[in-house]
Each structure stands twice: as C-alpha cells, then as structure tokens.
C-alpha cells in the first residue's frame, strides 16, 4: 500500500529502484508524502466539491459556529472557513513550493560556481553569503515589502531571495569535494571544459544534496510564509494563506472560536512536518552509508 502510494508520486518513479525501496521503508516519509498529496488534492480539487465565495465578504454571516451550511464555521468577515482553508492553502503550498525551489536553484548555482571556481571568486562569493546570513531576513522582508506589493509572485521571489543562502553553502561544500574527485581531474587532464565538469559531473552528483535541501527549503518556506503573514507582510485580500488565517484567528483565541485557529494551525504543522519527513526519507534513501 505505502510503496504503491510512493510510486504514484512522479519524482520517486524516476529514482533507481533501491532508492525507491529505501524511501518506501521510511514509514514517516511515506506518511509525509501521503499528507502532501492529500493537501494538494484538498486545496486544488476540494473547491470543485465544496464551493464557496472567497471573493466577497458577507457581514451578515460572521463568526458562525461550524454547522451543516458551513462545516468549519465562518470567519470575522463571513468567509466560509473550510473554503478559506482550501483557498489559502493554494497560496501557502504554491508559494512554499515555488520559493523553496527558487531558493534551491539560486543556492545551487551560486554554491556550485563558488565551490568550483575556488580562490578569490569563492572567497568573494562566500563573503556575500556570510553577509546575507548575517543580515536578518526580517529586515530584508520589511524593506522589500515596503517598496513593492507582495503579490503571490512577489512573495515567491522575496522568500526565494532570503532563503537561498543555506543551500548555497551546502552545494558549495559538496562541490569542493566533488571537484577533487578523480573523474573530474581526469576530465580536466584530457582537456575537458569547466562547463562540462559542472554540468556532467558536479551537479548530477550533488543531486541528492540538492533534492534533500529543496525539500527542507519548501518546508521552511511554508513556515516563512506563515511568519511573514504574522508580521503583516503576507498576501492581501481577497487572497489569503494559512499563516494569514492563523494570525488573524489568533485574536479569537480567547473568544472560543477555535475553528479560526485550529484548522490553519494544523494545516501548517501537518504540511511542514510532511515535507520534513519526506526530506528526511530522501536523505536516508540517498545515504548509502550507515545502512543496516
């Protein structure tokens, strides 16, 4: 059952068989995959089955308890909460996924170039990364969001731009060891180009590092979206995301309106957990050492 569900996921299907098997053996990872798939279905297919108006507010229907008409009640401006969960989930998942991937792509390029070039190029590029790590992301977020409206694409770019640093360090470290591998040296000794070395040897061999980093980046990005929304820098109405829903719901914590807090809170926790578990499973699966 679990192996099958893992197989259904496209990405896994491309991995060599033992990898897939090793991933499938990690029960948490498979559960994580299942959760992610379910949430994607919930957010993208769910609205077809349970349709609600998420564009207009309805001030006559605010703060209603869960009922047959509104399975999870309504929020402070009259949106159906279950529908909102799907609607906001689209943004959270999309932004998380895209920002995580963007950060990984930038980090991978930066890190592999720095690591491969070495010398002063590496020194300069890595000082930039150090400086990036040393500047609080919050500061960048505040400044950038003061300049431009963070729509969904904007948010993706901003979050991608503040979170590529860690993957870039990882990939650089990986590149540093890979470029000294004998097959790269052999290629250099017979006159192969740098581009070929990076494209044919270094990147493919760091793919495990990169894929694992990407998974964790996605998890972190979803959390970051939530954090950013808490600070009031998230997407704007009529759009929303789970973080925005949660922080808006926080004010209702003492009013007993649990349905405004628990569902988005759980959704965030579950999805972030799930991506972490997948990342963990992938790392285990790629890691040939320490088995058995």
């Amino acid at each position: 059952m679990s192996v099958q569900s893992a197989r259904r996921w496209g990405l896994v299907a491309q991995f060599p068989a033992p990898l897939k098997a090793r991933f499938a053996r990690n029960k948490l990872a498979v559960a994580g995959l299942l959760v992610v798939v379910l949430f994607f279905l919930f957010c993208f297919v769910g609205p077809l089955l349970y349709s609600t108006d998420q564009i207009h507010t309805d001030l006559t229907q605010v703060n209603l308890h869960p009922s047959g008409a509104h399975w999870l009640g309504t929020d402070a401006v009259g949106h159906d909460e279950l529908g909102r969960l799907m609607y906001g989930g689209k943004v959270s998942l999309l932004v998380g996924l895209a920002a995580g991937v963007l950060a990984t792509v930038i980090g991978t390029l930066w890190g592999s170039i720095a690591g491969y070039a070495g010398g002063w190029v590496d020194a300069v590029m890595m000082r930039v990364v150090d400086a990036g790590i040393a500047i609080p992301a919050l500061f960048i977020l505040l400044v950038v969001s003061a300049i431009t409206t963070p729509g969904v694409p904007g948010l993706i770019v901003i979050l991608g731009l503040v979170s590529w640093l860690v993957p870039s360090r990882l990939v650089r470290a990986e590149t540093l060891t890979l470029k000294r591998r004998d097959y790269v040296l052999t290629l250099r000794a017979i006159g192969g180009t740098h581009g070929r070395a990076i494209a044919r040897h270094i990147l493919p061999n760091s793919v495990s590092t990169i894929v694992v980093a990407a998974t964790f980046q996605v998890a972190d990005a979803i959390l970051l979206v939530a954090y950013v929304s808490y600070l009031g820098l998230g997407v704007q109405p009529p759009s929303t995301d789970w973080g925005g829903m949660l922080s808006a719901g926080l004010t209702a914590a003492y009013s007993g309106r649990w349905w405004l807090i628990v569902p988005p809170g759980l959704a965030i926790i579950l999805v972030v957990c799930a991506f972490n578990a997948i990342g963990d499973g992938l790392r285990d699966a790629f890691d040939v050492r320490g088995r058995g």
């Binding site: 609080p136 919050l138 400044v143 808490y230 949660l246 926080l250």
Partner: protein, 319 residues
Amino acid sequence: MDTLLYLTRRIAQALVVILIVTVVVFGLLHALPGGPARGILGPQATPQQITLFNHDQGLDRPLPVQYLYYLRQLLHGDLGTSYTLNEAVSRLIEQRLPKTLVLTVLSAVLGLVLAIPLGMWQAVRRNKPADYVITTLSFVAYSTPVYFLGLVLVLVFTQVLRWFPSQAPQGDTVAQVFADPVALVLPVVTGAASMVAVFSRYMRAATLENLSEDYVRTARAGGSRQRAILFKHVFRNSLTPVIAMLGYYVPVLFGGALVVEQLFNYPGMGLLFWGAAQSSDYPVLLGCVLVISVATVVGSLLADVVQRVVDPRVKGGLA
C-alpha cells in the same frame, strides 16, 4: 602561531562581511520611498517640520556622503541617536541586548541540553518506536510557528492552569530578570522548542554517521561496552559538526526572540528592532542589524574556535 594566523584571517573576513552588511543595509534603507520624516513626525507635521527634521538628521545630503559619515561615526563607536526614542542607539542596545541575550542564551542552552541526548538516544534506537515518536515530535515542534506555540503555552499555562505568569520578568537589568525565575520558564521554553527539534535532528544524524565509523568497531573489538563507546567516543565526534551549526543559528535565535518578546512583554533587542522597523527609525534599525550581524559573525567565529579546541584535526585544515 598557526592559530594566531588563522584568527587574524577569520577576523579580517568577518570585518569584510560586516562592511558588506552596512553597505547593503544602508543602501536598502535609503531605497525606501518617501523617507522617514513623515512617518516619524506623524500626519500632523507641517512641511517645515519635515524639512527641519531632514536637515537635522542629515537626510538631505547625498547618499554616499551620508554613508561615509555613518562609517566615521561607527569607527568612533557612535551608532547615532534614535529618531523617536530620545536615546543614543548605543544606550538602547546596551539596555536591551543583555535582556535578549539572557533569553536566547538560556533557550539555546536548554535546547542543546535536551537536543543532544535526545538525538543520541534516537540514533541508538534508530527505526524503533521511540525513534519514530521523538522524530515526529521534533517535526511537530519544528513545524509549529513560534507565535502559535507561544499562544498555546500562554493559554494553557497562564490562563487555564495558572502555573506561570503571563509576562516575562519585567526588570530592566539582568540581575532583576534572574530574580524572577518562574516567569522565565515559558519564554525560554518557547524559544527552545524549535532549537530542540533542529539540533536533535543534527545530533541524530551525526551520531548515526559516527556509529558506522570504523573506530567504533575497533573499540568494540577491544572489549568496550556500547555505553562506554557512546559516551567516550561517539559523543565527542558527533558534537563537533553540531557545534559548527550553532554559529549560523544566531539569526534564527534572534528571529525567535522577536516573537517571544512580543508574546511575553519583554522589551529586548527583537522588539527594539521591530519597533524601529515600524517607525522607520533608521539609526536604531541600522544599529540592530549591525548588532545581529556582528553576533552572527562572532557566533560562527566562536563555533569555529570551539571546533578547533574540540577537534585537533581542524587546525590548519580550513584556514
């Protein structure tokens, strides 16, 4: 000698990093449209007052001049004066930083003290139920937004159970803060939660890796018990990579401190920073970012140095 050379290099690098930070931060701040004056003086301010403000703060000069001026001030240890708080930035930091340090250091210590044994234990019980349970818990701890976790803790422990006060200690000095240890519990726990999650994962991975090292087999062949091998050998070998991560964790700790300080009414650096961002208080913002980046750089420097102490191999390695 070697160490000295290494340290000089690292410090030089750190200075370069901080210089880059000041340029970036300064540039970004001044890229903001509108300038701070209207925000600081409020809607009622007259255009004359705004001009006067800009002149007083030197904001009417060309940007490079302002930057050089700022650098010169910095070299004299002067971080400028807050636009809104009627204090020198250095004084503000002097007042707030120790409070935040108390919180973050306690959180970090608590986090590590819990995470390290947990991670080792998980590695030993790999893929057993205990490992799964702790892994799941640490994923949950990591995945819960800090503000949500804090809210839940406040709700449960201060409003329902009433075990702890809802506010962190309200004293202004470190000594006063420590005088009220009960009030420190919730803020410290909130700050430590994600730390435990992250570092127990690191520790688990490092321990697993070390357990498959040849030296473990050698020790076992010499008749050492599992427990002795874990504590005498694996522990120290696994700790080094974890220490290396600590340096880069400083900014994350500060981010967490911001939320904790908000939740528990504890005016420290995080709130100073947040308040300054809200009120366009550039000198304070610059000061805070500078402090955080220096802390990060110093943190990773310290982590390196500690690593050199713990791991004799590192000497001469990376430099």
